[in-house]
Symmetry: C2
Subunit: 288 residues, 2 copies
């Protein structure tokens, strides 16, 4: 029987832990506080920011969505972030992507101070990940961290495993490659210019797809030895307008050892990592 | 016939270009100036720093080796670097590794200002490489950059190729994996915890070894289809005390399309990259 790597039970378990941690912080006079910068009204961004706020509040943390007009000028935008960077009551700040075109040239990773960068995009946070040095003092990108949590909670070994990551984005593919390498996996980072992708995916123990192409991965990418694990990071819309992953779940599931569903797989893990990072940032403020 | 990827002719060609560039800078009132910090008297470090100075002077740049006592205390050491960071006449500064034990905990990448970090170790320089953003305004690690130059000068395609890098160091393996990924290669980063390394090396187009184990790579790592390229980054000493690479050249050479020798392969390319980075740093000082 193929193992379905659902995140529902894991989310429940970690939420409980986060609530306890949050209560402990509150008892020590710290109210974990996240600011989410949202520019414009991209429908997906509205949904994502709302779920982040909801989850923060569920565990007992404070979260404000700073909703800014699509046309906001650059200086006003930068001023708002600068003020948040200075606000000692705020522990974490994230900028919801994508930004409107006139702001998209900004080097987003450098805007939020590294000690509030709970998205893990700041150069110093990425440097810690890259160099595998003082990781505990820095923030790890949320989706890669969530994928590792999902695997670990399902008792899936990472060390000594071969992993193919499809997609070299700064949000998932690249930081995930670093994180898994640090955890002693042997990673092949594949992308749009990779030839013979199927040859590579058939060779590895774990396939992780993060390309954003609905149903790209079907059974032709799988070794059929029923010994592979497939992790689907995709959040796409199919031709019927339904949420779907990069993996054609129905065509893949019987050929693998384990597979994440969409929804209910990697998706919720990103928010969990964000909340974990927020509490980590809050703890820095006291010597707990 | 196996192509021997010697760097001798390339070094000669690039040295000529660097001399011209250096002369142009001198005519514009800029004397490219490198400071090399050397702590203690590690024999290999003495050789390396001397060759760096020699090559800088050959192209017309200035280079001082700041030779410091092995026992230097941390504050004095940091003060010296801080002064160099402030010195507007100095364009580049590198710290020769390894450092003595009492200094080795320092986060070396953060000591030299990013605009003088011609070794490409600063978090902001690594971030540019990692994100493939504004690479021309930042410095790329010397050995990875030199390997790419060696391949490009030999008309070896990188895009669409599969590459296995053996060794995940911060000086070679990791930045090289980023650089080659940015250049559209598909990279597998292997290391001491990789199982079945030979299976991986047999699958790829280009094998790059940077582990520092004399003669680790023999014909059993090669596909024997005579279509692979082997790049040897190793600088080891064999049982007879002779300089040798990670690759057993004699046992590999007849089975591959092309191979770098040791010495005269990757080694000299590192110094070339360093000089290129120094001139890039010097050019920043004027609007040339």
């Amino acid at each position: 029987m193929t193992q379905i790597l659902s995140s529902i039970a894991i989310k429940k378990k970690i939420t409980k832990e986060l609530k306890l941690e949050c209560r402990f912080l509150l008892e020590n006079g710290i109210e974990p506080y996240l600011k989410v910068i949202l520019v414009g009204s991209n429908p997906a961004s509205l949904v994502y920011t709302a779920s982040k706020k909801k989850f923060c509040e569920k565990i007992g943390a404070k979260c404000d969505i700073i909703a800014l007009n699509e046309q906001i000028d650059q200086n006003t935008f930068l001023d708002i972030i600068a003020k948040i960077n200075l606000d000692t009551n705020v522990h974490g700040c994230i900028i919801q992507l994508p930004l409107p075109k006139h702001l998209s040239h900004l080097d987003i990773g450098k805007l939020v101070n590294e000690d509030k960068d709970v998205d893990g995009f700041h150069p110093n946070n990425l440097y810690a990940l890259f160099s595998n040095h003082e990781m505990e003092k820095h923030f790890t990108s949320c989706t890669p961290k969530g994928i590792v949590t999902l695997l670990v909670e399902n008792n899936i070994e990472i060390a000594n495993k071969r992993v193919a990551i499809i997609g070299r984005s700064m949000i998932v593919g690249k930081p995930l490659a670093c994180l898994l390498t640090n955890l002693n996996a042997t990673v092949t980072l594949c992308h749009s210019k990779t030839l013979n992708l199927r040859e590579i995916t058939k060779e590895v123990d774990i396939i992780i797809s993060a390309v954003g192409i609905a149903h790209l991965i079907d059974e032709t990418f799988i070794s059929h030895k029923k010994n592979q694990i497939v992790v689907d990071v995709g959040m796409n819309t199919d031709t019927q307008g339904q949420l779907c992953g990069d993996v054609n779940f129905e065509r893949v599931k019987d050929h693998v050892l384990a597979i994440t569903p969409v929804p209910g797989g990697v998706g919720p893990m990103t928010i969990i990592s964000l909340a974990q990072n927020l509490l980590q940032a809050s703890k820095k403020k006291v010597s707990l």
